[in-house]
C-alpha cells in the first residue's frame, strides 16, 4: 500500500511539474497584436552579439566568434540590421535593433527576459522607434520539446510568440516616429523562430498596431 501511494505521489509530482512547465501562472503575461494590424516577416541582414538561443543561454553554444561584439561589457547584448518584407515577400522597410538581457533568467517564473529597441525606417515614408520586452522561455521550452522528439530534427522549432508584459509593468511599444508616423503611438508583437538561412539566428514576424495619438 505504501509503495502504491508512493508511486501515485511520484506520478502526481511529475504531472504537476509538467503542468507548471506548460502553464506557469508566475510567467510574464504574453500578448499579441492582431486587430487592423500590419505584419512583416523579418530576417537579419547583419547580426552581432548573442542571439539568446537556448544553447547560448545555457552557456553551451559553440558561438560564432565572427559575430562577437568584442567587449565583456556588452556580452549579453546584440546589434542587428534587419529587413522587413511585406506579405508578397517584397522588401518593405529596413530596421536596426539592439537587445539586452533584462535580468538573469528566472526559471521559477519561466521568465527569460530580453529588452529590445527597434528602429524601423520605411523609404520616403517615415520611421518608428519602439521599446519591447520578450520572454524567450517559450523558445527554450520548444527547443527541448523538439530535441526530445524523434522527429525534432525534421519538424524543427516553428515561430513562437515572445512578446510579453514587463514584470515591472513599465509600458512598452512605439515611443515616437517621423514622417507619416510623426508622434504616433501603438503596440507591436512578435513571434520568432530559427532563420532558415542562418539557423543559429532568429527570424520572425512583427505585427504593428499603429495608433494616432
Amino acid at each position: 500500500m505504501k509503495r502504491l501511494v508512493g508511486i501515485i505521489g511520484f506520478l502526481c509530482g511529475i504531472g504537476a511539474g509538467l503542468f507548471m512547465l506548460l502553464n506557469n501562472p508566475l510567467s510574464p503575461a504574453g500578448y499579441s497584436v492582431t486587430a487592423d494590424s500590419d505584419s512583416y516577416k523579418w530576417r537579419p541582414l547583419e547580426f552581432f552579439g548573442i542571439a539568446f538561443t537556448p544553447t547560448e543561454l545555457l552557456g553551451i553554444s559553440t558561438g560564432a566568434s565572427d559575430r562577437s561584439l568584442g567587449a565583456k561589457e556588452v556580452k549579453l547584448t546584440s546589434a542587428s540590421i534587419i529587413l522587413l518584407q511585406d506579405e508578397a515577400g517584397q522588401p518593405a522597410a529596413l530596421a536596426t535593433r539592439l537587445t539586452a538581457m533584462s535580468k538573469s533568467p528566472d526559471m521559477l517564473t519561466e521568465n527569460v527576459g530580453v529588452d529590445t529597441y527597434t528602429n524601423i525606417f520605411w523609404a520616403n515614408a517615415g520611421s518608428v522607434l519602439m521599446h519591447g520586452y520578450e520572454n524567450r522561455w517559450p523558445l527554450v521550452r520548444s527547443h527541448f520539446v523538439a530535441s526530445d522528439s524523434e522527429a525534432g530534427e525534421q519538424t524543427g522549432v516553428t515561430e513562437v510568440s515572445v512578446s510579453a508584459e514587463r514584470p515591472d509593468k513599465e509600458p512598452t511599444g512605439i515611443v515616437g516616429g517621423s514622417g507619416v508616423f510623426s508622434a504616433i503611438g501603438g503596440r507591436y508583437s512578435e513571434s520568432i523562430g530559427p532563420d532558415s538561412e542562418q539557423p543559429d539566428l532568429y527570424a520572425g514576424t512583427i505585427t504593428l498596431d499603429i495608433a494616432v495619438k
Binding site: A71, T77, A79, P91, T96, A183
Partner: protein, 165 residues
C-alpha cells in the same frame, strides 16, 4: 552638471574601430526601385556601433538610421534616428526629425545650447534614463580619409538631460 540643473554626458564612437559590420559601414536594403524617388538619391542608411565612455572603455552599443521622409508640407525632410544601449543602465532613443508619441511638432527655440544643424530631442529613455528629457548633439570629427575611402575620426554623441519631475 549644467547651470539649469541638467546633466551633460558624452558618448564616443571611434571610426573605424567601433563600427560593427563591414568596414565601409551600413547595409542598404535592396528595395524595389519604386520605393525611391525618381532621382534615386534617397536611401536608408543603417549603421551599428560600439560606444565608449570618456576613458575609452566600451560601455554599450548604438544604431544610427538616416533617410528622407515627407515633412509637414510634403517636402523631403532628412531624418536621423539614434538608439543607444548601455547594458545595466538603460537605453536612449533620440532623433533629428522624429517626434515622441503624443507630442506636437516643436521647433525648439532653445535646444539646451545645441545648434540646429545636428541635434534633436531625446524621444524616450529606459532604466536609468527613464524620466529624463533633453536633447542630443551629433559631432563628427574626421581626421583622415585613406585611399580606400575609409574615414578615421570620432563621433561624439553629446546628451544634455534633465528630470521631467
Amino acid at each position: 552638471m549644467l547651470i539649469n540643473g541638467s546633466r551633460e554626458e558624452t558618448f564616443y564612437i571611434r571610426l573605424p574601430d567601433d563600427r560593427i559590420g563591414s568596414p565601409r559601414a551600413a547595409s542598404t536594403a535592396a528595395f524595389p526601385q519604386q520605393a525611391f524617388s525618381p532621382v534615386g538619391k534617397e536611401r536608408i542608411l543603417a549603421e551599428l556601433f560600439r560606444v565608449r565612455d570618456g576613458d575609452g572603455t566600451i560601455i554599450g552599443l548604438a544604431t544610427r538610421m538616416n533617410g528622407t521622409v515627407p515633412g509637414p508640407l510634403g517636402q523631403p525632410e532628412p531624418v536621423t534616428d539614434w538608439m543607444l544601449l548601455i547594458p545595466g543602465r538603460g537605453a536612449l532613443m533620440m532623433s533629428r526629425g522624429a517626434i515622441a508619441t503624443g507630442e506636437e511638432r516643436e521647433f525648439y527655440v532653445d535646444r539646451m545650447g545645441f545648434s540646429f544643424e545636428n541635434s534633436g530631442p531625446v524621444i524616450s529613455g529606459t532604466g536609468g534614463f527613464a524620466g529624463l528629457m533633453g536633447f542630443y548633439g551629433e559631432e563628427t570629427e574626421i581626421e583622415n580619409v585613406d585611399a580606400n575611402g575609409q574615414a578615421y575620426g570620432v563621433v561624439r554623441l553629446v546628451t544634455r538631460l534633465r528630470s521631467t519631475n
